[in-house]
């Protein structure tokens, strides 16, 4: 019987050790550049190089209007907008598509590992929307979640491979840190207080990923020479892949074209 007790205590202490130690360090990252974070690869064990795959995401057809968000019950958020806020599902300008996650799906040497960079990636909740909406992190890289709204947000990750979480930040200025331990593209994030709030995070074992900017451009740098399958992912339009071969120091272009949903 005493052994049983002891077991319970050890169990408790053990799990505490595994799950509890998440510091509260403030984010020192730059919000704008987070999508490209991870390329620095300090002391990476896996191979890197100086090849680059870049390109532009084109959009054809008519983009559906982004739905209006009724924030009338959240004055703290609504006051941050001068025009009625919309849910930016389609970031389209001049036939270019933003918020497309582009990453190396395969082609890296088997067994190559890339340690997580110490710089965290930051996601900000501001005006009851996520900034950025689509981004990538490396496995075990810290994600700093920040609340800029003086209202409750909960951040619920609903992964299918990783362990999910569901945490809350009841007031402005709060930050929390979380990470994912397995590769998964994409892990959806949502806020249940504001049902319209969605974000997606691509968790990868390597630093070779990017998110297209509002001008549709993206760039994956520091690749070793090789042949890669590149995948582009959009929240509404699905995925596309193409194969690209780059030699050392080369820059190759890989453009993608998504077309609007059929009416």
């Amino acid at each position: 019987m005493r052994r049983m007790m002891l077991g319970a205590v050890i169990l408790a202490a053990g799990v505490w050790g595994c799950g509890g130690s998440k510091g509260n360090a403030s984010a020192g990252g730059s919000t704008g550049a987070v999508a490209q974070a991870g390329a620095s690869g300090a002391g990476a064990a896996g191979p890197t190089g100086n090849a680059t795959v870049s390109g532009v995401i084109h959009f054809t057809g008519t983009a559906p209007a982004n739905p209006k968000i009724d924030m009338s019950q959240e004055s703290a958020c609504q006051s941050k907008y001068t025009t009625p806020p919309t849910d930016p599902q389609f970031v389209v300008a001049d036939g270019k598509l933003g918020n497309v996650f582009v990453y190396v799906k395969s082609g890296l040497p088997a067994g190559a590992t890339y340690p997580a960079p110490s710089t965290p990636v930051e996601i900000d909740q501001s005006g009851c929307l996520y900034h950025p909406r689509v981004f990538g992190v490396q496995v075990d890289q810290d994600i700093v979640i920040k609340n800029d709204d003086n209202v409750l947000h909960n951040i619920k990750a609903v992964p299918s491979i990783n362990r999910g979480f569901n945490i809350s930040q009841p007031s402005a200025g709060m930050t929390s840190k979380r990470k994912f331990s397995s590769p998964e593209v994409m892990v959806p994030l949502e806020c249940n207080v504001h049902g319209w709030m969605h974000a997606w995070v691509g968790v990868l074992p390597h630093p070779f990923f990017a998110t297209s900017g509002p001008d549709g451009s993206f760039s994956i740098k520091n690749l070793p020479a090789g042949t890669y399958t590149i995948e582009a992912w959009h929240e509404k339009l699905g995925t596309q892949t193409q194969t690209v071969t780059v030699g050392a120091g080369e820059t190759k272009t890989a453009d993608f074209t998504f077309s609007g949903p059929k009416a």
Partner: protein
């Protein structure tokens, strides 16, 4: 601090105020009398029969007559309270209590939002002019509204204190609850059943309009829906 020791119920704004509040005041008076009788007797006895030297307590083991009296009086009082309360329960929650002319709406609860679907101009749900609004309950005054409560995830509870109405929304069930507002104005709808970490913020604004204002609001909503 005005409500600190007030035994009055806050002002209400539905017909249920008339059905419910008097039951509260009746019970308040009955239990108030019982409370005062018991506590005063207790204190009087404690003072009067406190220990004094050379005195012995009276050696009695009880009184059958007293037992019969207080048992039957209590039983009669509680049964009367029950019998007087029963009609209001049937009217508010009974299966046949919903007035046939009530305006139907759908209240879909999810963590941590109230999504309310209105029947549009035709007054019927399930037609193309239905529209859904988050976090706002709009109803016309002096007309019964019947809400069909559903839930997407956990159990929530639809609670409008000013209407004296509360009903759980249970996933997998369609529960009808009705009410008839009597005063225009703004009130609050809250969730009364713990539903997770955002439970305390599962709030919506209730607006009671005159029928004309309500129709105008519906038209306006229909317009903005069409715009989307």
């Amino acid at each position: 601090m005005g409500n600190f020791l007030s035994w009055m119920l806050p002002p209400g704004a539905s017909t249920f105020v008339g059905d419910i509040d008097w039951i509260y005041y009746l019970i308040l008076v009955v239990t108030g009398i019982a409370f005062v009788l018991v506590e005063v007797a207790l204190i009087v006895f404690l003072v009067k029969y406190r220990k004094r030297p050379g005195r012995k307590a009276t050696y009695v083991h009880g009184s059958t007559r007293a037992e019969i009296i207080w048992t039957s009086v209590t039983a009669v009082v509680v049964v009367v309270i029950g019998v007087l309360s029963a009609p209001a329960w049937d009217k508010i929650k009974g299966r046949n209590g919903v007035p046939p002319d009530a305006m139907p709406i759908e209240v879909h609860a999810k963590q941590f939002e109230w999504n309310i679907t209105y029947p549009g101009a035709d007054g019927k749900l399930g037609t193309t002019d239905d529209f859904t609004v988050r976090g706002q309950l709009h109803v016309p005054v002096d007309r019964p509204t019947v809400a069909t409560l559903t839930s997407e995830d956990a159990i929530h509870s639809f609670f409008v204190p000013a209407f004296r109405i509360k009903q759980d929304a249970v996933p997998g069930m369609h529960i009808r609850v009705w009410f008839q507002p009597t005063k225009t104005g703004e009130y609050e709808l809250g969730c009364a059943e713990l539903c997770g970490l955002g439970h305390y913020r599962m709030r919506a604004v209730v607006t009671v309009h005159t029928q004309a204002d309500y129709d105008r609001w519906v038209a306006q909503q229909a317009h903005s829906v069409a715009q989307r």
